[in-house]
């Protein structure tokens, strides 16, 4: 499953209420980071410090990832990771949710509450598959299993958005997980680590500049 899709399934209670588990700013930024990470994993872009660069503009299989890649390739003047996170975050929730809906893994339900506000819920069609990303992250971390770069990216972004605490339910497991997370962050490829750092900073800045 694609990285951003997995993050969505972690951040959204599709197997339960269909509502988000994480506040929307962090979810959007996490998904934006995940989309960029997908491109890193496809070896199309690299992240160095504060800058992101397209190294290979050739097409990738997923249409959403490719549309992001095309946009990045045609606007090389915007090389700042934070700019891309901010821009992508404006639409990621809907875009990635659509991707999941098209795989038929979730269905979208719109509800009209008494207050006339349109509520959107995403309900899982296959509970096991939708709960798998969270379960996998928890198992990998608490048992110290070796991880592929994609898994490392998922773990890093989940931690960067503050969601990791709620996935790790068992206190003893949490201690092991935190310790192993340190190891993961030391061995994760540089692009992905910098990316996760920027997501963490962006989420923090969103807290600091929150306005209603």
């Amino acid at each position: 499953m694609l990285l951003a899709d997995e993050f969505f399934l972690i951040a959204w209670d599709t197997a339960g209420s269909g509502t988000p588990l994480l506040h929307v700013q962090a979810t959007s930024l996490g998904l934006a980071g995940a989309l960029l990470a997908e491109l890193v994993l496809y070896e199309r872009v690299t992240v160095h410090g504060a800058r992101v660069e397209v190294t290979d503009p050739s097409p990738v299989q997923d249409p959403l990832a490719y549309s992001v890649l095309k946009l990045m390739a045609t606007t090389p003047e915007h090389a700042d990771v934070r700019t891309w996170l901010a821009y992508l975050a404006q639409n990621t929730v809907d875009a990635v949710a659509n991707r999941l809906v098209q795989t038929r893994l979730v269905v979208r339900e719109e509800s009209r509450s008494l207050l006339m506000r349109k509520g959107v819920r995403y309900i899982a069609t296959d509970y096991a598959k939708c709960a798998w990303p969270s379960a996998r992250v928890e198992t990998l971390l608490t048992n110290g299993r070796p991880m592929a770069p994609a898994d490392m990216a998922l773990v890093a972004i989940t931690d960067a958005t503050g969601l990791l605490e709620s996935i790790l339910s068992d206190p003893q497991g949490r201690r092991n997980a935190r310790r192993y997370l340190g190891t993961v962050m030391a061995t994760i490829p540089g692009s992905l680590r910098d990316l996760a750092g920027h997501v963490h900073a962006a989420v923090g800045d969103a807290v600091l500049s929150y306005r209603s």
Binding site: L22, L71, T83, E165, A201, Y210, R211
Partner: protein, 518 residues
């Protein structure tokens, strides 16, 4: 962020357009800054209590003087802000200009100051709400009951990450200012003895004894003006919007409070304002206005006083919680403070700790039977105001040192002249403030409070310095990121300016509000 500058936009630049959609203009930024000012709280609460406690009438000219000094300070401040990764908090500037230990010390000073300001408001709410409760419901609860109700509300809203809605704040602010201006007009049209007395505006007040007290009180009115730089990433044309908005905010605040505090002396006569304020306390301006404007206007004003205090309480609570959050992100405070609530994104630990502090103080004051208006609100406010004064002075020095050490291409007025003038004035004000602290508190010069309260900042500075040195020894990586705020987690480097050489190769930015309310 390196989005394309506002004037240059190609048709294909969807990114800049998309990000520019919500950009703020000068009026928006001024509104955000002023919404932290809570003008009616200052005019009805601070100014009247200041007259009563200090017994001096030079407050109007003090507002003008402090406004001028802060305008001078702002020149260097907004210029340095352009080179800052974490522009919103004074301690970041101190860290960048004077080194990380000084920065951490400044962070601790800020923690004490902002908490003092927030907690002090619980004392004002009683004075604001009790007359209304008496008038409408005929009940006379103790001040601390009102305070505890407000405390609970603020705590819950803080945990839910509820801010007072921007539109509501704008409406409140506009109405407050309208009411204040109405009161001022009524006062000035009906001067005591028929002639408008300019005594309170006389500059000779600046050379009288006790002027230090007035200057600290005046600084209190300007708290929050520094938050304009927080909006530079979100404003349409940061190089123009932020400086202009900052100067206009300072000017508006100075004018509003100077005129209001002066108008009070005109309607009573300058020789009688102190006695009136001592007799009526926070009721002063309402009683004065009642004679000329009638009951309805005054009732509206009283309600606005309550909402003003309450909104300021929420605002300062959120500021302090966010401050604690930013410090937690940088590990200046334990990392647990840097976490957010998962569902709300609220800076939970920061919010809770601030709430607990509020409870402790309210209970303490209630149990000891201390006076809420003078000893909680006024003392808390002036303690906080003095702390902010220290921060501004330290930042001013940091600005000077920063520009002295770094090639920035800014002109001499912004780099040297204005900051130097501002620093001299600010240091003079600090000296006068410490010298006149007894007058500020309205206590005898021999009273221990006169040293204890300002001395608490010495303790904060000492704690900060020690903590920084501990961090430097224990965790060099964390130490290097001090001053970056939330960006401490990324490897964001500062664009044009080379870090002052410390002999280490550091790829992270060299160190440097509140995050303010927004």
């Amino acid at each position: 962020m390196t989005a394309a500058p506002a004037g240059v936009r190609s048709g294909a630049d969807a990114i800049s357009s998309a990000l520019a959609a919500d950009r703020l203009g000068i009026p928006d930024v001024i509104y955000f800054v002023m919404s932290a000012a809570a003008p009616l709280t200052v005019v009805a609460g601070v100014v009247t209590t200041a007259y009563a406690v200090t017994g001096i009438t030079g407050l109007p000219v003090a507002f003008i003087a402090v406004g001028a000094v802060l305008a001078l300070f702002s020149v260097g401040y907004v210029t340095m802000a352009r080179h800052m990764v974490n522009a919103g908090a004074f301690y970041a500037y101190v860290a960048r200009g004077l080194g990380r230990p000084a920065g951490v010390a400044a962070a601790w000073v800020a923690l004490v100051a902002y908490n003092a300001l927030q907690v002090g408001l619980y004392g004002a709410l009683g004075a604001a709400a009790l007359p209304l409760l008496d008038q409408w419901l005929g009940v006379h609860p103790a001040w601390w009951i009102v305070a505890l109700v407000a405390w609970a509300l603020v705590g819950i809203l803080g945990m839910m990450r509820v801010e007072v809605n921007g539109t509501i704040l704008a409406v409140l602010l506009t109405t407050e200012i309208a009411v204040i201006l109405l009161f001022d007009a009524a006062d000035l049209i009906h001067p005591a003895g028929g002639t408008v007395a300019l005594d309170a505006l006389s500059p000779s007040a600046l050379s009288s004894s006790g002027v230090g007290a007035l200057l600290v009180i005046a600084v209190l009115g300007f708290v929050g003006f520094e938050s304009s730089v927080v909006f530079s990433e979100e404003s349409r044309d940061p190089r123009r919007t932020v400086p202009i908005a900052t100067f206009l905010s300072v000017a508006i605040i100075a004018a509003l409070y100077a005129v209001s505090s002066w108008a009070m002396t005109v309607v009573t006569g300058p020789d009688k304002i102190v006695d009136t304020a001592r007799k009526d306390g926070a009721e002063t301006i309402f009683n004065l206005a009642h004679a000329h404007l009638g009951g309805t206007v005054v009732d509206i004003a009283r309600v606005l006083f309550v909402t003003s205090v309450f909104a300021a309480m929420i605002s300062f609570h959120n500021t302090t919680a966010r401050y604690i959050f930013a410090l937690g992100r940088e590990r200046v405070l334990p990392p647990v403070f840097g976490r957010t609530g998962v569902r709300t994104g609220a800076p939970k630990a920061g919010s809770v700790s601030q709430t607990v502090l509020g409870l402790v103080v309210i209970v303490l004051y209630a149990v000891l039977g201390l006076d809420p208006l003078v000893q909680l609100f006024f003392y808390g406010g002036t303690l906080g105001g003095f702390g902010v004064l220290l921060l501004i002075a330290a930042t001013s020095i940091a600005v000077l040192v920063f520009f002295a050490r770094n090639q920035t291409g800014e002109n001499a007025w912004r780099r040297v002249i204005a900051p130097a003038l501002a620093t001299i004035c600010l240091l003079a004000i600090v000296y006068l403030a410490v010298d006149n602290f007894a007058t500020l508190l309205g206590v005898k010069p021999s009273s221990p409070l006169r040293w204890l309260l300002p001395g608490s900042y010495l303790v904060a500075i000492a704690v900060g310095l020690m903590w920084a040195l501990v961090l430097r020894g224990a965790n060099a990586d964390v130490y290097r990121r001090i001053g970056l705020g939330a960006k401490a987690s990324s490897s964001q480097t500062v664009p044009a300016v080379a870090p002052p050489s410390r002999g280490t190769h550091s790829r992270t930015a060299t160190t440097a509000r509140r995050g303010r309310r927004h």
